[in-house]
């Protein structure tokens, strides 16, 4: 077994895949924490799927689809954010519509573009085993940007997440900070696209943070633990998929899902025994 692991690590693609898992998990743990505590899983899903429009555009106009995905996800993040902030009612409907339009545009652009589209599926379902070294550099840069922005605006991000009204009264630029957060989600989503694919992005974005939130009650610690869990899940999923010859993205999601289910069960058990103890007092 150990020999097989060492043998696998001889391959650049395997080392790159593990590295990609680490880099993505850092962003994922930090931004996923905000997604979970702000309850904006749906809008994050919308951003992820709308990014597909940018991939299609990249194919059509023959530039790097990742760049297209960044543009589309940031624009859709700003659009969805504006809708959510300005029209309090039916925001979810409009976000759902933008979600679908983004995807549909991507499909049509791909239809219109000529040529062989072999790695199209990799954007939808992920291809962590095919991450080139140049992508690792992009991921590293995005990580630095995300960590720096979150560190710089930490007190404001915490404030708008916890009590937006109070933050407004204290003259925090609430709308701007919220839009910055959504743009960070957009960048994270594009990074994660490589690992698990657009379709499963929200799962990997939320599960480590959700598990972490059950055990720590401090936002910084929640981010750290979520990032750490992300690394564990991607590495475990990667090895399992390698040895069992399964799709890596889906395996990573199932590993995370299993861990999430276990943590939910553990929490239920703990609170159950706790409430029993209270009853017997």
């Amino acid at each position: 077994m150990i020999e097989a692991v060492i043998e696998a690590l001889q391959f650049t693609f395997m080392r790159n895949a593990l590295m990609a898992g680490v880099l993505v998990s850092i962003a994922c743990g930090i931004i996923g924490t905000f997604v979970v505590i702000n309850r904006i899983v749906f809008i994050s899903g919308g951003i992820a799927h709308a990014a597909y429009g940018g991939i299609g555009l990249g194919y059509y106009l023959k530039f790097n689809p990742v760049l297209g995905a960044i543009i589309f996800s940031v624009i859709s993040a700003l659009g969805m954010g504006a809708v959510q902030r300005k029209t309090r009612q039916r925001a979810d409907t409009i976000i759902g519509v933008m979600w679908a339009i983004g995807m549909a545009m991507g499909i049509i652009f791909v239809d219109l573009s000529a040529g062989y589209k072999v790695d199209l599926m990799s954007y939808l379902f992920g291809s962590i085993l095919a991450v080139p070294s140049s992508d690792l550099l992009i991921m590293l840069v995005l990580d630095v940007v995300i960590v720096a922005l979150v560190a710089l605006f930490y007190k404001e991000l915490l404030a708008i997440s916890f009590d937006e009204t109070f933050a407004t009264v204290e003259n925090v630029p609430v709308d701007t900070i919220y839009m910055v957060l959504l743009c960070l989600i957009a960048l994270t989503v594009v990074m994660m696209m490589r690992v698990v694919g657009l379709i499963m992005v929200i799962a990997l974005l939320t599960m480590p943070a959700a598990i972490s939130g059950q055990f720590v009650k401090d936002m910084k610690k929640m981010m750290l633990l979520a990032s750490f869990l992300g690394v564990i899940f991607t590495a475990t999923g990667l090895w399992l998929s390698y040895f069992l010859n399964l799709t890596s993205g889906a395996t990573i999601i199932l590993v995370s899902g299993a861990a999430y289910s276990l943590s939910l069960a553990a929490k239920l058990l703990i609170s159950h025994t706790h409430s029993e103890r209270v009853c017997f007092k």
């Binding site: 505590i37 404030a159 009204t165 109070f166 933050a167 009264v169 204290e170 401090d218 936002m219």
Partner: protein, 265 residues
């Protein structure tokens, strides 16, 4: 924030003149006039839907009035709200939110620190002092979700005090808190009132009438003339016809000892 300038006539800290406000052209507040003087302790009661929350939103600059004006410390609400320490309702709260008491209280320093500025040691001192004044310093490390409703409300008061306010504005501070807890909470407010002006809005008449200096009734219109007690006239004017509302709201609540079972969250 010159405090002790005035000696004889207390100066006006909140001034509301002929104010109308509402949503989608449906007025919720009609022709509100209110003058709050320094070190007042005013309690406004009113039925649900009577515009209590709307008035608070206007005073915090969260909702522009449709007509009339509101001023805080002689400034527009958006400029003047930095003199207000706002204590929100304690309902609607995510128990799982990963934050500690200390970090909640420290949010009161947001208005003093700009973007990209870090909190300082001075901020920590102010936070410690505020938490001590509400007897919550020992629990500073607790997650906010682990507190009882009354403790959480104290933390919100501490957070408001951390802003070093001239005015405390409280919105239904004791909704969903049991009576003993609320009694000690109102004692705390009375102590704080030695230094800050307090405007409190509630539907809990017993608490209001026994702790505040003056009371008023708010039901779309405001009936406040600086009285110490709620007069039948005010009630009749404020609540107008709905007899059941009065029966439900008043006779049992005037005397605190009558409110036996209130559910604790």
């Amino acid at each position: 924030m010159g405090h002790a300038k005035t000696m004889e006539t207390p100066r006006e800290v909140i001034s509301v003149r002929h104010l109308w406000a509402g949503y989608d052209n449906e007025p919720v507040l009609e022709d509100i006039n209110l003058s709050v003087k320094e070190l007042d302790f005013i309690g406004l009661i009113g039925p649900n839907g009577g515009g209590k929350t709307t008035l608070i939103k206007v005073l915090l600059g969260l909702l522009p009035p449709t007509r009339g004006q509101a001023h805080i410390m002689g400034k527009s609400v958006k400029d003047g709200r930095r003199y207000i320490g706002y204590v929100p309702q304690s309902v609607e709260f995510d128990r799982d939110f990963p934050i500690r008491v200390w970090d909640v209280a420290r949010m009161g320093r947001l208005g003093k620190r700009r973007l990209l500025q870090r909190y300082t040691a001075e901020d920590d001192e102010v936070v410690a002092e505020a938490l001590r004044s509400v007897d919550m310093l020992d629990l500073g490390y607790r997650p906010i979700g682990a507190l009882s409703g009354g403790q959480r409300q104290r933390v919100y008061v501490a957070r408001a005090l951390v802003t070093e306010p001239n005015i405390l504005l409280l919105d239904e501070p004791m909704a969903s808190v049991d009576p003993q807890v609320s009694a000690s909470f109102y004692d705390l407010l009375s102590r704080l009132n030695e230094h800050v002006t307090i405007l409190m809005i509630s539907h809990d008449m017993s608490a209001i009438s026994s702790h505040v200096k003056t009371v008023g009734c708010l039901n779309r219109r405001l009936f406040y003339h600086g009285e110490k007690q709620i007069t039948p006239d005010m009630l009749e004017a404020a609540y107008r016809c709905p007899i059941d509302l009065i029966a439900h709201g008043i006779p049992h609540r005037v005397f605190p000892e009558h409110s036996v079972e209130e559910v604790r969250t």
